[in-house]
């Protein structure tokens, strides 16, 4: 507990059990807040969102055996999205390890591939140092989840507390400061470039580099796109904003990537959802790749100027160098490129045609309008996630919290809870589908217990939407097991948990339901009955270059 307090932990998301009774007993004697979830997976998702919303390390505490295995999905999601987390799991006493004991699993073995690092603590004397080291590893370099497995007999032993020593790991030394020579190469490429673009991602948000990114873009009039994880890094209402890039990105973002002559990629990993066919991606451009993790560089896409470094430090330095250089009449030079982009924008806008049935995109549009683009949005996965990304124009970082890399359904509601705990005075909305919301619906109890006024917005089309879309487009509309029959009455379900519930079946009802929900000082579920066979467009079919989009 002392080590946790020294690391600045003020909130733990957890679920007790036999192996962690002593830890919970000690917890009661501190002033650390604890949020009791209803499923350990939710404890990790909530800690994940807490970490993202507050730019800190999230902490979960669960018991051994099934408690630990229930965290694996949450840990894998945090691993894919590089979120700093420390997950503390109880373990059976040391003599029983490996003996098939009650509630025993080799959680260290199970999570080896999906944690940044993990530990099984063998001696009571090592607890403080190990936990301190776990925090260091979680938050440094490319962040990630770290698991610490704590056998019960070690926790039970009484020893005198010894202050842990400063962390120095000889085999782990991330590179934060960029190579200046490489940055000078970037500047010379910028000078020559006629059609540059910036492709930013989650790394900007983790590094807190949003202002530096915006300064770079606006100083040199460079249009900006981001991956799903980067939404909010650059203001979504700025004229230089291209929209998201990739499989469900905007027309102008995808077309720009194919025509640009210089792409500055910063804090991204060139995921397959973004690149489409890799040898066709940004084929006309010199690519600069700035990232703190050397393994991301030249993993999927060959780049001309790799720069290993922290996004914020690198962009700060780059901006410094640029200020000393003379970029003559950059605005005029950029005009033809920006004009072309504007033509693409006019050619293909994100559109929908609403008559008597609510279009899911309309709900998001209205939400954006009513909240002024200022809410914290968490999402589930699938069509709901994509429409949230397309129609809610984030203008600040740390506002869009989604399971990007793993794409984990059931993430949204616990994430909304975590974000609400981190930012008690903000409006937090979980944009969900009727499939996803049922995966962690039990967390409504958590929201009610702690009076967390999260708003759950269900785009209810009675289908597993994204899978149905693929079946429509590529499997001749054979909807095999994607029709979600027997969904509950979400309004009654919300009330059963002690929350409020509203539903809407006609476009005219949408605005009222949203307004009512936002005004209530408690958790609310909104069930919007939307168009059943609506598709997310644009769409790049798997394996195609991202310029070959299926359009509305």
């Amino acid at each position: 507990m002392k080590t946790l307090k020294d690391e600045g932990v003020d909130t733990i998301f957890g679920y007790p059990g036999g192996a962690v009774l002593d830890i919970y007993d000690a917890l009661a004697q501190t002033d650390i807040d604890h949020i009791l979830v209803r499923h350990e997976q939710a404890a990790v998702h909530a800690a994940d969102a807490f970490a993202r919303a507050k730019s800190t390390v999230g902490v979960s505490l669960v018991t051994s055996g099934p408690g630990a295995t229930n965290t694996v999905t949450g840990i894998a999601s945090a691993y894919c999205d590089s979120i700093p987390l420390v997950v503390l799991t109880g373990q059976v006493p040391r003599p029983l390890i490996g003996n098939d004991a009650f509630q025993e699993v080799d959680i260290v073995g199970i999570t080896r591939p999906c944690t940044k690092h993990n530990y099984l603590v063998q001696k009571t004397e090592d607890i403080a140092q190990t936990v301190k080291e776990a925090f260091y590893i979680a938050r440094s370099g490319r962040p990630g989840p770290v698991l610490v497995d704590l056998p019960k007999d070690i926790i039970n032993t009484k020893i005198t507390y010894k202050e842990p020593t400063p962390i120095k790991i000889k085999s782990y030394k991330p590179t934060y400061d960029p190579n200046i020579k490489q940055l000078k190469r970037v500047v010379s490429l910028l000078k020559k470039s006629e059609r540059p673009m910036i492709f930013a991602g989650g790394g900007i948000i983790l590094s807190g580099a949003s202002k530096d990114l915006t300064q770079l873009a606006k100083t040199l009039h460079i249009p900006v796109t981001t991956s799903l994880m980067g939404l909010g890094a650059f203001p979504g209402d700025d004229p230089l904003w291209l929209g998201m890039i990739g499989m469900h990105g905007t027309y102008r973002a995808n077309m720009s990537s194919a025509s640009c002559d210089l792409m500055i990629a910063v804090g991204v990993r060139f995921d397959d959802r973004v690149t489409g066919k890799t040898d066709a991606f940004a084929s006309q451009a010199n690519i600069v790749h700035i990232d703190i993790d050397p393994t991301s560089i030249r993993k999927n896409i060959n780049v001309q100027v790799p720069v290993v470094g922290d996004c914020k430090r690198t962009l700060t330095k780059l901006n410094e160098i640029i200020l000393q250089e003379d970029f003559k009449k950059v605005e005029n030079k950029r005009a033809p490129w920006l004009k072309q982009i504007d033509e693409w924008r006019k050619a293909q806008r994100l559109a929908y045609d609403q008559k008597d049935i609510i279009k899911p995109q309309y709900v998001i549009d209205k939400l954006y309008e009513l909240t002024g683009g200022n809410a914290i949005i968490t999402t589930e996965v699938g069509q709901n996630q994509m429409w949230a990304a397309q129609f809610y124009h984030f203008n600040r970082p740390n506002r869009f919290i989604t399971s990007g890399g793993l794409g984990c359904m059931g993430f949204g509601l616990p994430a909304a809870i975590g974000a609400q705990v981190a930012c008690p005075n903000e409006l937090v909305v979980d944009i969900a589908g009727d499939g996803s919301i049922q995966m962690n619906i039990q967390e409504l109890a958590t929201a009610v217990q702690f009076n967390l006024p999260v708003k759950v917005l269900i785009l209810n089309n009675q289908y597993l939407g994204m899978v149905r879309q693929w079946q429509e487009l590529f499997y001749k509309k054979k909807y095999v097991w994607t029709h979600m029959e027997c969904a509950p009455d979400f309004v009654k379900l919300a009330e059963a948990f002690g929350a409020k519930g509203f539903s809407a079946s006609h476009p005219d009802e949408v605005e009222d339901v949203l307004k009512k929900a936002i005004a209530i000082k408690g958790p609310v579920v909104m069930d919007f009955h939307v168009e059943q066979e609506e598709c997310v467009y644009p769409m790049v079919p798997a394996g195609a270059p991202i310029t070959e989009m299926l359009l509305v």
């Binding site: 073995g109 080896r112 790991i169 085999s171 050397p294 030249r298």
Partner: protein, 162 residues
């Protein structure tokens, strides 16, 4: 694609689970382990793992970077451009009928290996050497009938240039 064999020597923390982490990395990412040899170094806290892997340039680059990323890996040594000594040890149980027993012993003598076990119809031969020597010996013994082989996997150290 031009795939090549590459020998990497890793200096790692001598802790439980480290070998599992490394072999998990290879299997999880579809990298190939042709052979693997691990033991303590002169420093009890550090082990050396020698891995023989196969891949093209891009994959080999990824393997080295991914290994470097692991917290327990202290150093990754790639012997590709350095003068290096490679050795592997084998125990080979070869059928040795009366008609050609002498021939086998002659081969053993020429290759300067040792006979470490003898029976009415077999010899067990111990050989240490680089890949060339070992392949040559195996090719010569194969016609006689090799019953069993146990190999250690390649180990390597760089030469010190004076």
């Amino acid at each position: 694609m031009n795939t090549k064999k590459r020998i990497l020597s890793l200096l790692v923390d001598n802790e439980p689970g480290v070998l599992s982490r490394i072999s998990g990395l290879f299997s999880g990412r579809g990298f190939n382990i042709e052979s693997l040899c691990v033991a303590e170094t002169k420093d009890k806290g550090i082990s050396r793992i020698t891995i023989v892997t196969i891949g093209n340039d891009m994959i080999l680059e990824q393997i080295k970077k991914q290994l470097n990323k692991l917290i327990n890996v202290i150093k990754v040594i790639d012997f590709i451009d350095k003068p290096t000594i490679y050795r592997e040890m084998l125990l080979i149980k070869v059928t040795a009928k009366a008609t050609y027993r002498a021939e086998i012993l002659r081969i053993v003598d020429i290759f300067r290996c040792k006979t470490v076990d003898v029976g009415p119809e077999h010899y067990t031969i111990e050989v240490t050497g680089n890949e060339e020597k070992i392949n040559a010996l195996l090719n010569l013994l194969r016609p006689f009938g090799i019953k069993e082989i146990a190999r250690t996997g390649t180990i390597a150290l760089g030469r010190e240039l004076s």
